[in-house]
Symmetry: C3
Subunit: 364 residues, 3 copies
């Protein structure tokens, strides 16, 4: 417990934890102050996500590489998963899908681009393990194909087409989870030596004791779930107040909030010239969401959602995911990076954000 307190004292971001009780109090006192609740829940989720990622890493460090990698991989996007589950239970499928696509795009373009830019401003040319980047880009490419094909093939809007999309989405969800499992087997099992340089101890901090880590994991997950509920309820209304489109909120705001903790690690890795860490977090997180979180949400929608959710995105989102994957592939192809490469990826992200921000409501 002392350990946890000292961690909080030394990490300014964790001071934001003070907002956790505040958001609960506010949501009970004035449940209709959507804009306030939105801001408070964002401020509360960010430090909780940071704690969650620390706890996950500590547990992973204890259980050995293979099991730890699996744990890290499955728990790494817990925040995104919990936010999406809250939206799923509320039947807000548009928000779920936008946040999935947004997380993929934000991780591959914003997190990767800003890492390259921040690293490149300090170091002239940086090198990293391109085998690992290619592997993640390959997984992302597969997921993009799975997201693209239902839209490309099924066009008619009849009941038959809906049934087809639902059945196909179920099949694709299972296939993506299998691909994700095979990817873990490959990168942590049969060919782990190819991924060597990407493995030098995340963030270099001493891990927490296992008991503390597990307790934090359990407690913080519950807190994130509760705050996410408030976030999902308030975000749409708050967006209207700020004049943001729903697409912009789902794609950009939710993705940035959900990924805040990972971004902190990725950027700090890039500044320390440990670009393998940054590339691993950015692309690994994106492929996790595409191949694990998204299909799991489709499967869970049969259990907890009002109706089954399919994998079909709106055409604009498919194009953005496709461009993000292509950009990641082109950008990581050489295994070297400079500030300009990062700036290019960020520019693509800004084009997307600008488009979504200006999008008139009816065109979405």
């Amino acid at each position: 417990m002392n350990r946890l307190l000292s961690e909080i004292r030394h990490n300014p971001m964790l001071w934001l934890l003070a907002f956790v009780p505040v958001v609960f109090a506010a949501s009970m006192l004035s449940p209709d102050a959507h804009t306030l609740l939105f801001l408070l829940s964002v401020l509360a989720i960010v430090p909780l996500a940071t704690l969650l990622s620390h706890a996950t890493e500590s547990v992973a460090a204890k259980t050995g590489d293979a099991a730890g990698g699996l744990l890290n991989a499955t728990l790494g996007n817990l925040t995104e998963l919990v936010i999406a589950l809250a939206a799923l239970r509320a039947g807000e499928y548009m928000l779920v899908k936008a946040s999935i696509a947004g997380a993929i795009v934000t991780n591959t373009l914003f997190m990767l681009g800003a890492s390259f830019l921040l690293g490149g401003l300090k170091h002239h040319v940086q090198e990293y393990n391109r085998v690992s980047a290619r592997f993640q880009a390959g997984l992302l490419f597969l997921a993009t194909v799975a997201l693209l094909i239902p839209s490309a093939v099924g066009t008619a809007d009849s009941a038959t087409a809906t049934a087809f999309t639902a059945k196909l989405s179920l099949g694709l969800a299972v296939l993506l989870i299998v691909a994700y499992g095979l990817g873990l087997l490959f990168s942590l099992g049969t060919h782990r030596e190819l991924f060597a340089s990407a493995e030098h101890g995340e963030a270099g901090e001493a891990p927490w004791p296992i008991g503390l880590a597990l307790a934090t994991l359990a407690g913080v997950t519950v807190l994130v779930a509760l705050v996410s509920e408030i976030f999902v309820e308030s975000v749409q209304k708050a967006a209207e107040t700020f004049g943001m489109t729903a697409a912009f909120v789902g794609f950009i705001v939710v993705a940035l909030v959900g990924g805040a903790a990972e971004m902190a690690s990725a950027f700090s890795g890039a500044r320390k010239n440990r670009l393998d860490l940054s590339v691993g977090i950015a692309l690994g997180s994106a492929s996790q969401i595409a191949l694990f979180v998204a299909p799991v949400l489709v499967l869970l929608s049969y259990v907890i959602g009002p109706t089954p959710m399919d994998l079909q995105l709106w055409p604009g989102a498919v194009v953005m995911v496709l461009i993000a994957t292509l950009t990641a592939t082109l950008v990581t192809n050489s295994g070297r990076s400079t500030w300009f490469v990062g700036a290019l990826a960020l520019m693509v992200y800004i084009i997307f954000a600008m488009t979504l921000y200006m999008l008139p409501p009816r065109v979405q």
Copy 2:
């Protein structure tokens, strides 16, 4: 003749030749047993295709590299060509186009992917000549552009648009054949040394005497033509019985049957760590179909078809060919392969097969 018999005795796949007389007998006795005829014709085509590819290789080995390469290239996809011709004469243009697109997709994703997977399960990391893979991928890219452009540009469905598509297809067909010829000139002529490692004697078997090879070539081609006629007549009806969509049959079933012999060679090459052979067969076969078989069918449709056939595919097929070409380009970019790379390519193929299998009839 003894040579041919001993070959048949030692190759279990050739025992299937017994089905050739059976399918002819069945088609005369009960011409309406479509499912039976479909199964029998598949069982008969596979060994005939194997014989055909052996005979072609033997002739090619005799005539020297340049002429032999040309012969091998033009005769290598004889089975696909003969099946497509049978469909062309019957005016089944949808089936012809589906089988062309399906053969491209099946060769680049299934044949290449399964070769990488089977080879990778035995060998940790395999290397191959990436110049050759890039060359084939470049040809495929050109063909994909030619298939994509008529759909991307001409949208209106008027009579003018049809005339435009027909005229454009004729021009594109001639251009693709010219590109194919230039490719042969490059890879067998001016820059043959770049393709070196891909040339170490196909399958390592002693070639047949030239007389036997030529006689086999002639006789088996006639047999394949006759069996293909039965296959094309029965396949659509049989598909309905099995609950398969026409798109699935054309894309997947016909392509797997037509490529059976080449797949056997490609997989055996991969197991023997001769991946240049596998990549050459898979991508070479795909680019042959795209740049030679498809345009020749367009030209022949003016002679033997009921109306001229154009090169325009349905949008879903264009997307699949495009994704297959992109996958081949990405996957062969490094010149190294592992089991996981093969698994990724196969997964993309499974996504396509799953989508086509589930496709409701009216959405095609």
Copy 3:
């Protein structure tokens, strides 16, 4: 002045300058002879463009690398800019957009492809600096995304959508100019050493005295502007006479005329085995048009055009720009070239030209 005359005497292309007074005379004597005026204006623009590029290089050589590079970059596509301005003032936005897209496509496919082909016919395998090619391809990729996104996202044709496209185009125009500026900072500033081999003295000719260069620059720009006016007025009518579609004229004819001078330099560089020069001119020119000329035209349309112009292209043009960028990326990926690589790029260009030439008027 003697210098200029001696230059004209030794360069046969400059003899075409005789057509400059002829075209002015003809336009006054018979302003309705569109076909004649079109031919004469083409013959007059080509030598003027050659003079303009010589003068620009001479000024650039005097002002030192950084400022000179900037000058060269901003003035290099002066002909294209002046032609587009004439069309912009006439409110011919379709022609402006077609000529932008056409210049990108023509530079990346025709100029690059023909350079590789002509160089490859003389030299077996040529090598060049792939860092520079990748940098230009990255800029082109960003511009392609900017051209693609408005079409991909905004579909409804309402007044809202038009306002959205106009606002978005303005934002994208500013972003592209910023990206272009960052690209200059990167390639001429912070990381100029990466672009080393691309810098060995353009064309190897002794530069003109600065006074002559500046005077030529000013005088020739005025002449190009005047001739362009005649060209833009006559080109559409002349096209009908020759049976060419408006799309073909804008995409192919205008682009070839506008880029004639640069093509001469690129091809001569390739024959002299200085492929860095050719790749730099071809891709550099394409990215300049995409990231500088096009956005500047959008901004200028608010000042000199009848209504604001947006960045949205017709879908077929977007596909062509996308394919051209992809081709440039794939083709320059290895840093080596042979005649066949050039032939492939040219074939893609021929597919586009053929499609646009055959396009029935109503489908455009």
